[in-house]
């Protein structure tokens, strides 16, 4: 029994009136953990009760501590009838379990009821006393830290990156159990919330065990998702990257940190999950999954595309022994792992060597019905509820799901291999479910990684050294990883425009963030491809077949759109690419978002050329040439807008940039700059003829038009879906995170693909326009991490949810620094090239980015602090933020005391806070809420209902962070927002799942004051050191 959980109920405020006669409430509180319940006294007749209870003590084992949430129920005492529930608070006590995170949870929590929403607040203090010493405790999965952030968290250093961890658990969905017919909606919602909370806790614990097995101490890029499969159940699955992290304030613990847990692990009974019986059924499902009952389900695997650069080129002869050596070593490091995937999107300097391109895989599955309409009569709130799950009844369930995912991951792995890559980075998985059909998707970026972080101390020191000496200049990752002589597909290669040594593709697509050392010209922009496809309503297998037949066409079209839009912007690379395919009853939607940039290393993109099929017609010709002119104008305008003026490069190196007249047989296609083999462009799509759009096809015309109707953001606005906007690095501290949701009803008459596309396009464009309008007071600003999610809740309904953060920047300064930086890096590029020539041939035959690269200075967070911003200017930025109130923020390292005004908690989908330094990670926030109403009209209709609910969710997240002693949530994400309505019954229901990392940050201006006052501030000097070296 390793722990004692202590809970104190202090007070309540703003409680609802429960007794109409007196307009007051007789409130008391039930505190429940596991099977133990305590009660406070009844505080008579008050809306602001002061319970000031004793410490309620729960003696529990650490498994429970990890799995169970603390459940606090506020009730109104009623002498004659049953006590009425006012609402509940669920507190995840996980953050109290690691030594470095929070030590106490204390603060005001909103009291939440699934029917009435937030009803007052309650002040609670929670502590955990651990019986065993810290060291021993760390061996249990409790000690493993979780981060949603998809990069190495700011105040840590990666010692080893162990690799991919995944897990899933399955249960029946309480909403679909027979008992649901007789219980109240409230009880049903609460059962569901509790179940998911338990399942998430369990999942996290299991992943933690896997991390310990791998000798790691943390999971980075942890992404947990729910699949609401309806009748067939509820799946909670998670993926992440196991790492050994070292806190930067204690740099001495390089090896002991990762070695000691592994040694002692074997001695500790806690790490052997089977000893706890039924609760840990699948610790390594991958190994057992093969040969499971896959045949039971219908499954279609969809041909997968590999997005990479296109074009042709002469084969190079480089590739010398160094490359081989490096590859061999990394490969051996990675091959120990079943799936060499990383969920990271940003990497410690030196890890990412080459990027191959995006790999993705989709598969359409039919969800099985659960064959046991399991006996779940004893639902209740007891522990046995959970024990009833798959273990006894449908033990094959998780295996099926595991097998599905294993299959997809295998496919991804083989795609990566085909690209000459041994790893996949920026990896993510998603599902789309409609009735019994489920599309599983996985995507990532094929990459070659340096062995530096992948193994513990096995890297040959001299090799590493040589790698580091071999300085690339922000272009290394663009160099093709595959063998030019034996390419997996026909590709168009040119010499790298930066170092002029290696080959690069003409276009690069990736799912990762822009590497910090990448040399970019101009600014980036959000690029979206949007697509709808009608589909006949069908059942089961016919439906699945129809969907899987449509998928490749959609993928192709999404890709074409992206490519065309990228060229229209005059850019040559996409980062953060996320393609979402959503399935509905009668249609499929595709939405791809990415951030386009101009990489200096890649060739200048060619224009877009339009050609008619029947050139004889004069007026037609004229029309075509008119269109052509419009397109050319747009490209020119965009280049100006995004400040893309690449330096002129002598022609002998790049080849001829003159358009090829041969391409006239196509209506609309990307044009390559190189002279020969242009016809081989559509390499990855199989037979290109199948996708050629004829000129007299009106659809094709529409496509061209829609291409041109994308309006650029108004002046002063930029947008991207990556962490940072290339070309802007002078952020002020004014940030505004927001969620916007729109649901539109399509008129059901004469729906055509064309009309649908137009509607969908309009919906997204309007949404963006609304955002720009709403945030106009923040200009100049950039919408970062713009995340669109599409769902099709009903036949004719389309729901689009957007979460993003708007950050203002200082325009003048930003321009200066960009220019200076661009010049500097170009300069550096040339000098480095000269230096390179002095090395033996084998060394300069390949280049590997090194962590010592000075361009790390352009890191967004450090930009304002380290690149020598004059104090006066910084003062301006702080002052600028204050009208928004955020500037007035008072740093609170201690939890807020009762009665004080509410402290500001910032929320951002980014992993950093501009103008501030994260000093502590307090733990993961992972919350799931259900809200239901039977008085929709009275709550302001669907908009009023959802608006309130989302505001409440934000409030609950903020309250939890504040109670942990934090002042911000980073890497915040709304993973699910499932909204269902039934206006005729005046009802609606919504499920929201959010997560993020609770942190403490200190404003950089405050930090300076602190450091002058007391120079021994723990983390600061080391942090700065890390960034600059």
């Amino acid at each position: 029994m390793p722990g004692k959980l202590k809970v104190k109920i202090v007070a309540g405020r703003h409680l609802p009136v429960m007794d109409r006669a007196s307009d007051l409430t007789d409130a008391f509180v039930e505190v429940k953990f596991g099977n133990t319940t305590f009660k406070t006294d009844v505080y008579l007749k008050s809306l602001n009760p002061q319970w000031n209870s004793e410490w309620f003590k729960f003696e529990v084992d650490d498994e429970d501590l990890q799995d169970e949430p603390l459940q606090i129920t506020v009730l109104d005492h009623d002498t004659y009838s049953a006590n009425d529930a006012i609402g509940k608070v669920y507190i995840d006590i996980d953050p109290l379990l690691y030594s470095e995170a929070a030590t106490v949870i204390s603060g005001w929590f909103p009291i939440y009821d699934t029917i009435h929403g937030i009803r007052g607040e309650i002040n609670v203090v929670v502590k955990v006393d651990l019986f065993n010493d810290l060291n021993r405790f760390r061996q249990s999965s409790c000690g493993v830290k979780f981060f949603c952030t998809t990069s190495i968290p700011k105040c840590y250093r990666a010692v080893v990156i162990h690799g991919f961890v995944e897990e899933l658990v399955v249960n029946e969905d309480p909403e679909y159990q027979w008992i649901d017919r007789i219980r109240t909606p409230r009880a049903s919602n609460e059962a569901r919330q509790r179940l998911i909370s338990l399942m998430s806790g369990e999942l996290q614990r299991k992943i933690g065990l896997k991390v310990l097995e791998m000798r790691g101490n943390a999971v980075v890029g942890y992404l947990q998702c729910f699949d609401l499969e309806g009748e067939s159940g509820l799946v909670v699955r998670a993926i992440g990257t196991a790492c050994t992290l070292d806190k930067l304030s204690s740099p001495a613990t390089f090896l002991p940190a990762c070695n000691s847990p592994s040694k002692e692990m074997k001695e500790s009974p806690l790490v052997h999950p089977p000893s706890h019986g039924c609760r840990s059924t699948h610790n390594s499902p991958i190994h057992t999954a093969t040969g499971s009952r896959l045949t039971q389900s219908f499954s279609v695997s969809v041909p997968t595309l590999i997005y990479t650069g296109m074009g042709s080129g002469s084969a190079g002869k480089e590739g010398g022994p160094f490359k081989a050596l490096l590859r061999q070593q990394t490969q051996s490091a990675l091959e120990q792992r079943e799936f060499p995937f990383l969920t990271l999107t940003a990497f410690p300097p030196g890890l990412l060597v080459h990027v191959g391109g995006v790999v993705s895989a989709r598969s359409v599955k039919l969800l099985d019905r659960i064959h046991n309409p399991a006996f779940v009569g004893i639902m209740g709130n007891t522990r046995s509820y959970k024990l009833l799950d798959w273990n006894s009844f449908n033990s094959d369930e998780p295996e099926t799901r595991d097998a599905w995912w294993a299959e997809i991951r295998q496919e991804i792995k083989s795609h990566a291999k085909a690209l000459g890559c041994h790893a996949v980075v920026g990896y993510s998985e998603s599902t789309s479910i409609c009735e019994e059909v489920c599309i599983l998707s996985a995507s990532g970026t094929a990459a070659v990684l340096s062995p530096r972080f992948l193994q513990e101390g096995t890297v040959d020191g001299s090799l590493e050294q040589r790698v580091e000496e071999n300085l690339p200049v922000g272009c290394g990752f663009c160099h093709i990883p595959y063998d030019e002589l034996n390419m997996p597909f026909p590709a168009h290669l040119t010499h790298c425009y930066n170092c002029r040594k290696q080959k690069v593709p003409d276009v690069l697509f990736t799912t990762i963030d822009l590497p910090t050392d990448a040399v970019v010209i101009g600014k980036g922009c959000l690029i979206q491809a949007r697509l709808c496809r009608l589909k006949k309503k069908a059942q089961a297998e016919a439906n699945a077949t129809a969907i899987s037949n449509l998928l490749p066409f959609m993928e192709y079209e999404v890709h074409t759109q992206l490519m065309n839009k990228l060229k229209l912007k005059g850019m040559n690379a996409l980062f953060g690419l996320r393609i979402q395919i959503t399935v509905g009853e009668n249609m499929l939607m595709g939405l791809a978002s990415a951030t386009g940039v101009y990489l200096a290393a890649l060739p200048m993109p060619g224009g877009i050329q339009i050609a008619g099929k029947t050139p004889s017609d004069g007026s037609y010709e004229q029309h075509i040439s008119h269109m052509q002119k419009k397109i050319n104008d747009t490209i020119a305008k965009n280049k100006e807008l995004y400040e893309i003026n690449p330096p002129e490069v002598s022609e002998e190196i790049i080849g001829s940039p003159i358009p090829e007249p041969r391409q006239r047989s196509r209506l609309l296609r990307s044009q390559s700059e190189s002279s020969d083999e242009v016809t081989e462009l559509d390499l990855s799509h199989g037979k290109k003829d199948a996708f050629v759009l004829e000129i007299d096809d009106t659809d094709a015309m529409e496509d061209v038009h829609s291409l041109l109707t994308d309006v650029p953001p108004p002046s002063g606005f930029y947008s991207c879906n990556t962490e940072i906007m290339p070309g802007i690095n002078n952020w002020t501290s004014e940030i505004q995170m927001f969620t916007s949701v729109r649901v539109v009803r399509l008129s059901s008459l004469n729906l055509t693909n064309q009309a649908l596309n137009k509607n969908f396009n309009g919906l997204c464009e309007n949404l963006l326009k609304s955002l720009y309008f709403k945030l106009r007071s923040m200009t100049p600003c950039c919408l970062c991490h713009v995340n669109f999610t599409v769902s099709l809740p009903e036949d004719e309904l389309i729901q689009v949810t957007v979460t993003a953060v708007a950050i203002t920047f200082d325009k003048n300064q930003a321009l200066q620094t960009t220019k200076a930086h661009a010049e500097k890096s170009l300069q550096r590029a040339s000098t480095d090239n000269e230096e390179l020539l002095q090395f033996p041939l084998e060394l300069c035959s390949d280049s590997v980015p090194s962590h010592a690269f000075p361009a790390a200075k352009e890191h967004p967070e450090s930009a304002s602090s380290n690149s020598g911003t004059p104090a006066a200017q910084r003062a301006v930025t702080v002052e600028k933020a204050s009208p928004m109130g955020d500037g007035n923020f008072r740093n609170r390292s201690a939890p807020p005391c009762a009665g004080s005004t509410v402290g500001v908690v910032k929320m951002t989908p980014l992993s950093f806070i501009p103008g501030a330094k994260i000093t502590k990670y307090l733990g993961i926030i992972n919350m799931f809420f259900i809200r239901e109403t039977t008085s929709l009209r009275e709550e302001g209709g669907v908009s009023g209902f959802l608006h309130t609910f989302i505001a409440e969710v934000f409030a609950m997240v903020r309250a939890h962070v504040a109670a942990l002693g934090g002042n911000a949530v980073v890497s915040y994400i709304m993973k699910q927002c499932v909204f269902m309505e039934n206006p005729s019954k005046n009802q609606a229901q919504c499920l929201i799942n959010v997560s993020g990392d609770a942190v403490v940050f200190v404003r950089e201006s405050d930090l300076e004051v602190m450091s002058t006052q007391q120079p021994a501030v723990n983390c600061q000097p080391t942090c700065t050191g890390e960034v600059t070296t």
Binding site: V744, S770, G885
Partner: protein, 364 residues
């Protein structure tokens, strides 16, 4: 394609001051959109009407949700649902409780009851203020009244504490509460020339000097069990005012008073002769107002009486304001030299306030 649902929720609640004003002014979403279009915002921002509509709806929804909290402003500070910077919170509250001059003049001194609420329709038509806005303003008056009515301590402080208003606005509300409680008549035709500011000024003086609170603050009777209230006039004081009647009832005293004033002011007033002829009338008027204040009915008519008995006679003789000031000063001070008059303190308490009020009320 019709929009079923359209929302925007920021971690920091977005407040558009212009839209807030339109909402407070009681415009419907469509009217507000039309007004915003007319302001030229579309041209400035390049937005479409649809965007504007959606934006306006969003803000209206937010304000609607905030309204419940604005009814008890401290709640707005402690609530967790909307993260609003303190400066914005203050702005929301201040604007919500700000009222229209035209409206307050209609309601000032009336009982804040359902009956009056029914008249809001007429007030709306008369003033051109939307009914919705009238209702908000009326409900604000009533809410503040209800909360502070029975409270001890300074009226202004109580209002500030419970509604977090600025000093200026809290003082205005104190006047409104004071007037509503004492039901001073302000609507008569002859009072129409007076602004809310005039009444508020008088109210403040009266609260400071004529209420129980004014006595309670004095250290002379700390044991007093009386409610320390700013809203009720000091009944005892009003009762005592009867004693002043001697100033006009006793002919000798009146003559003496007159001669003292005339001697002091001779050559200093441009309207000396008018003053001399009118002295007895004016003095009678002022003293009788005091003597009548025992009756609630006469308390209500205080301002009517003051205007009738003093402001109007002087105005008809074209007294300049400076002369009125000189006269009132001398008129008050001279009483101290009346040997037979024993109620000097009472007189000062009465006349000190009245002089201030009269000077404020004396304009066209």
């Amino acid at each position: 394609m019709t929009s079923e649902l359209d929302i925007f929720v920021g971690n920091t609640t977005l407040i558009d001051e212009d839209v807030y004003r339109l909402w407070l002014d009681g415009y419907s979403v469509n009217d507000a959109v039309a007004l915003r279009v007319r302001s030229g915002i579309l041209e400035q921002t390049g937005a479409t009407a649809g965007v504007l509509q959606s934006d306006t709806m969003d803000h209206y929804r937010t304000f609607h949700m905030l309204e419940r909290l604005l009814h008890a402003p401290p709640k707005l500070l402690h609530q967790l649902i909307f993260q609003i910077p303190p400066s914005r919170q203050a702005l929301l509250i201040e604007r919500y409780y700000t009222f229209d001059e035209a409206f307050v003049r209609e309601v000032l001194g009336k009982k804040l009851s359902k009956g009056t609420k029914k008249d809001l329709d007429d007030i709306s038509t008369k003033t051109g203020i939307t009914l919705k806005s009238c209702r908000r303003q009326f409900d604000n008056f009533k809410r503040v009244f209800k909360v502070v009515e029975e409270m001890r301590g300074s009226l202004v402080d109580n209002i500030q504490q419970h509604f977090l208003l600025s000093d200026r606005l809290a003082r205005d509300y104190a006047a409104i509460v004071f007037f509503a409680n004492n039901r001073f008549e302000t609507g008569k035709k002859k009072l129409q020339y007076l602004s809310f500011g005039d009444f508020a000024f008088c109210a403040e003086l009266m609260i400071q000097n004529w209420t129980l609170g004014a006595v309670g603050e004095a250290p002379t009777d700390p044991d007093s069990q009386m409610d320390d209230m700013d809203v009720d006039l000091d009944k005892e004081f009003l009762q005592d005012l009867k004693e002043l009647k001697v100033l006009v009832a006793d002919k000798d005293l009146l003559d003496l008073h007159k001669s003292l004033v005339c001697t002091a002011l001779r050559g200093k007033l441009s309207v000396f002769s008018e003053m001399e002829t009118n002295f007895k009338n004016l003095s009678r008027g002022l003293v009788n107002v005091a003597a009548k204040l025992t009756h609630n009915k006469d308390v209500r008519d205080l301002f009517v009486d003051l205007v009738e008995k003093f402001v109007e006679p002087c105005r008809s003789d074209h007294w300049p304001l400076s002369d009125v000031r000189l006269f009132l000063n001398q008129y008050s001070v001279s009483v101290h030299s009346l040997d037979g008059f024993r109620h000097q303190t009472l007189w000062d308490r009465y006349m000190g306030t009245l002089r201030g009020c009269l000077l404020r009320l004396y304009h066209d």
